[in-house]
Amino acid sequence: MELGEKLELLAASARYDASCASSGSARSSPAGLGASRPAGVCHSWTGDGRCVSLLKVLYSNSCRKDCAYCANRASADIERASFGAEELVRLTIGFYRRNYIEGLFLSSGIFSDPDIVMERLIEVARILRERERFGGYIHLKAIPGCGDRLLRKAGLFADRLSANIELPTASSLARLAPQKSGTEILGAMRFMGQAEAESEEDRRRFRGRRGAPPRFAPAGQSTQLVVGASPDDDRTIVRLAGALYSRLKLRRVYYSAFVPVSSDPRLPVLRGPPLLREHRLYQADWLIRFYEFKSDEILDEGEPNLATDIDPKTAWALRHPDFFPLDVDKAEYSELLRVPGVGVTGAGRIVSTRRAGRVKPEDLPRMGIVMKRARWFLSSGGRPLFSEGGAASPSSADPLRLRTLLADAPRDASARRTAAAPQLEFGFP
């Protein structure tokens, strides 16, 4: 198979992995090509609107495992191919020099023993770093079940490592991916977390002195959860993500709407990937990462799934009317973060403007505050910013009317399509 054909096949096989970030690492190679910067760089956007930052391919799409939801599962009737290490090095360097990419994201089907698969991925990274002196970004998939020695070696060449959990509960894994072991995946994640912490500690000891050991995966680790292939509710997913952030110190959890790739009876019948559900999960994820929410606050037992009509922060605000209104001149930064329509930047601007004087309500839109939402939850000088029919705050407004007012309006055809797509048409036998 010629290189172009192989590239098409192994890029298509890798496109279900949502991650393509090149952030979290600052690296350069004075003697060679390439550097990465902490914020990462997007080099293009595909027709599905996703950022292209890395050359994202599988080393091989041959796989011993037969996970029901996976396009590359052993039983799938697809063409199989594998790259050679030199082909991948040539593609990475060629694309990098033309500014198409920030680096390489290399994953693989499990075509052999986990140690052998991991060794192949490491070899590509080793050639790039040692022979080519490549200073760009490298994201390697950690193959669960491989030895700790190999994971440690991978972390010395890679900026980021990831092991995908894919399904949020042991029962779903047992049902849809019986050859995968949740214990093995979490074991690999724990080991990588420890190695990262040890590496940081070692480097602290060497601070300011020569001979500091290289950093282990400076951009940390990430994982991915497939959304909609199993009957697990959003609360289960959000709580798992919260635990991964707080206990295993993951940098990112990605959510990938399940794309029906087979007629396996264990899978739900969907008209299309549950994109709106995926979108809401990302919003909930942002609440945990940037808005100081605990995962348990976002959903509870009585409401285990994220609303489709409103975002998770608005849903929380409507459930907690007594928390509002908040005074723009007095509320703490962390309180302002809970106001629908106020983002991290807006909350920061309100707080910094207060240092120079009072915040005038008419200035709020210019600070990036979305008043259509925020006016229901803010006050100024003790006076609510909005009153209608005697209702001056969420606690006194008609809750149904307020919810309707704050509901997301589908903005374009694609959003309407997404919103209209049924999210949970499970056909579990």
Binding site: S29, G94, F95, R98, N99, R349
Partner: protein, 267 residues
Amino acid sequence: MIGGTWSYDGSLEGLLVLAHRAYSEASPPDAVANALAADGELFALLGPAPLRGAPFRGSLDPSPSELGRAAESASAELRAFSGELFDTVMKIWMSEEALELPLFRLCALAGRRGTEVLADHGNPDLRAVSRAARRVGREIDRLSGLARFFPAGDGLLAAPIEPDANVLAALLPHFARRFGPEDFALVDLRRRLAIARRGGRFESAVGEAALAFLPSGAGVGDEAALLWRRYFKAAENPSRRNPELQRRLMPRRYWKYLPEMDGAGGM
């Protein structure tokens, strides 16, 4: 109060000196006259060497003029006062928008009341210059990812760009770091300016000499571009197709030189 009309030549040096004057005298002008000559010299268009980072030091402006020295001293003082204010001055110059007056008023206010005025988002002058600075910042970020380099002979890789703002000098440190020891050139076709690094030395050019960095036929038949097109098509997930989102994130005006969007496969 000083007031009156302040005139300058449209150069970055001139803007820096006047911004510093407003800051140090804590008083702005009533009006500004920007007299950028149509045939303004290259150094004025690119900005003085020391302000563009170490790679340029000494290589473009070996005998800095009196204005250059004044600008260097002004920039050092502004930067020491507030990196944010200094960055804003630079971006206002790159924006090529007539925002000198609000900028000088902001500098004067900062000189009177300190850096806290830079956080007062109720101030209309701050809002006007911040908006323009953000636009320039976005342009720099976008082109850091969307500039496309083509083989241009003798091992040189050259990228044509047509930015709305004059961001060539701001892109240079990013690509110098990215290319390590390799040769490269950035050519602003709209302004007919170019910056290149060959054999470890920086060069610059204007007019026809700038365009010469992109010889006719450069990049035609480049195998990497052909492979990239194939990769790009395969990486898209057809079940998630959303071209509107793609256009929002990557406006059409950037597509001209993107091989993956069927832009120039070569020059």
